[in-house]
Amino acid sequence: MASLRVYVIRRVLVAIPMIFILLGIVFFIMRVVGDPVSAILGGHAPQEQIERIKEQLGLNKPILFQFFDYLGQLLRGDLGRSLIWGQRPVISEIWDHFPATLELSICAFLVSILVGIFTGIIAATNFGRFFDHAFRLYGIITYGLFIPWIGIMLQLIFGVYLGVLPIGGRIGTLMEPETITGLYVLDSLLTLNMESFISAIRHLILPSLTLGIYLSGIYTRLTRTHLIEVLNKDFIKSAWARGLPKRTVIFKHALKNAFIPILTMMGLQFALLLVGAVLTEITFSWPGMGTLLFERITYRDFTTVQGIIVFFALIVITVSLLVDVIYAYIDPRIRY
């Protein structure tokens, strides 16, 4: 496994330029389209005050210097302070909201993977027949679904008409479990708090279904195409020819191989998960990063918005890194 370790280290090194570029893009876009000073002061502030603020924020330096200042700040784990209200450190704003997003994303991800892979397998093993067409269509339709709309429809049905599930928030009043991970479901399990656990799950159902269904179509399609591709490979033919039972062939040989490209796509689709999470959060008043981003954009809280985007960027990079590493772990061919 030493070679795997070397690979991981190298892969991390490769991620570094990517980080720089992403941060650069974020930084320059924010600089080009937004003016932090007027966001702080309002447009009518006297010139000397503008200058003073500019100096305070280091905005009077050439833009490249600003960028390096900013990078330096980031290296120290400092995302700056919010421009509004309490001017809290952006990082604490993010940590307040991130667990909610994480919890939602994980659940939705699980839903989408389970539904997607299941339907994908059925479609692929029924290639050309009814279930194949049906689930292909499912894949296309779900991809075209508009998250807020699915959300609202689910809210209408389960929240308003049937009244069986909550349509907003993360957990019932005063039911928060003791904070360990920040994920309510996990924390309530760890503290054996059944009441909280049930409440957390109930609140999670509709948002994760919304996001999960939306994403599942992609996995249906991915699983289907890659499984069909793998099923046509010689080594699968050869596995049949050796008389291996269907279960072994499909799950052990085919699915595992099909999983490699699916995994890569999962890494790429991760961005979509985040996008979906933002919309889902706003539809379900889920107190996560998406809600935070939206709120702060309307208030022009420049640094927080930038911080959130940087944070997203880092997550995206981390995930693609993770995916590659898992990939290398699964696929012996990758290890150099």
Binding site: N232, A241, R242, N257, R333
Partner: protein, 324 residues
């Protein structure tokens, strides 16, 4: 001696939107225990389909439409999937063309072997492992490399592993589909020799599928020449090469450069093989045949027996070797 395998009037079609591709269309031949049949034909003539249909592994949209497949006297054409599964890999096994892709890239080769053995024989893992090492040794792979992954082997070695997998359970019949065509000549030569050796020691029947007629001549006892989904000539190898009867056999043999001959005059067969969805009404070779007559266009020639074990599908022969 009883036949190991007898195929009678087998038809395998692929059902596409454009119509049924008659990939195997009325094929009959037989082979005895321990014999090698060389199945030759150009690309698309239905060799692989025929090979796969013996294992009943033709993939959708392909279907065995009719015909008998008698293996050790039992018609397996009617067997269900469960029964076939027990047969596959243990009594009849198959080696595929591309050594690159016929092994699961995520599995160690030892696992491949152990898995196959334990599917058919209920023996403990350790014992299966021991068997696996023996097999690897037999095909010339150092057994200590059993823990490696397929991509760590060269093409020739992978093909050896493929063979080990195929002979793991001492099958009666081995179907080898173009299994040396992606190898270099020298390696091909080595593998071919290995195959001959194993065939003798394991008393296996072998169906050797290839488009390379020269290569087939090196190993086959009988030759079955396919053209457009049909066997046009079936003969003992030495007879086939010395006295080919079918015009196609003749043409084919003449179009292959032979390194032994100096100042060879090469020939070619004009035209192209027919579309298998709408094959010509009469003889399928008629459009390209230098001897074609009117009857060939109208009627499909029967597969006639010339001598005891020599059959040809051509109107020019009428149960005798002489032309009518």
């Amino acid at each position: 001696m009883k036949n190991l395998l007898t195929i009678q009037d087998l038809r395998v079609y692929y059902y596409l939107r454009e119509g049924a591709v008659r990939a195997v269309d009325g094929v009959s031949f037989f082979m005895k225990r321990g014999e090698t049949v060389g199945l030759v034909g150009e690309s698309g003539s239905g060799k692989s389909t025929l090979g796969l249909s013996i294992l009943k592994l033709v993939s959708s949209p392909g279907k065995i439409v009719s015909g008998k497949i008698l293996f050790n006297g039992n018609d397996i054409a009617g067997w269900n999937e469960k029964k076939m599964r027990l047969l596959r890999g243990s009594r009849i096994s198959m080696v595929f063309q591309d050594p690159m892709t016929s092994l699961n890239p995520l599995m160690r080769i030892e696992e491949h072997l152990v898995e196959t053995i334990r599917t058919h024989q209920k023996i403990p893992k350790a014992e299966a492992k021991k068997k696996a090492s023996l097999l690897l040794n037999e095909v010339g792979i150092p057994p200590e490399r059993g823990g490696d992954y397929p991509h760590q082997f060269s093409g020739g070695m992978r093909q050896r592993i493929g063979i080990a997998l195929a002979i793991a359970l001492n099958p009666d019949l081995l179907i080898a589909d173009e299994f040396t065509s992606s190898l270099d000549v020298i390696v091909q030569f080595q593998i071919l020799n290995l195959m001959k050796k194993l065939k003798a020691s394991h008393q296996m029947g072998l169906i050797f599928i290839s488009h390379d007629i020269s290569l087939v001549s090196e190993i086959a006892d009988r030759i079955a020449l396919m053209y457009a989904g049909q066997i046009v000539e079936f003969a003992p190898a030495d007879i086939f090469f010395s006295e080919p009867l079918h015009p196609y056999s003749e043409g084919l043999l003449n179009s292959v450069p032979n390194i032994e001959l100096s100042d060879q005059k090469l020939n070619y067969i004009p035209g192209m093989p027919p579309d298998l969805v709408r094959p010509p009404d009469g003889c399928r070779f008629y459009p390209r045949c230098p001897y074609g007559e009117d009857i060939c266009r109208r009627k499909e020639p029967p597969l006639v027996q010339i001598e005891k074990e020599h059959m040809v599908k051509c109107f020019r022969y009428d149960g005798k070797k002489s032309r009518t």
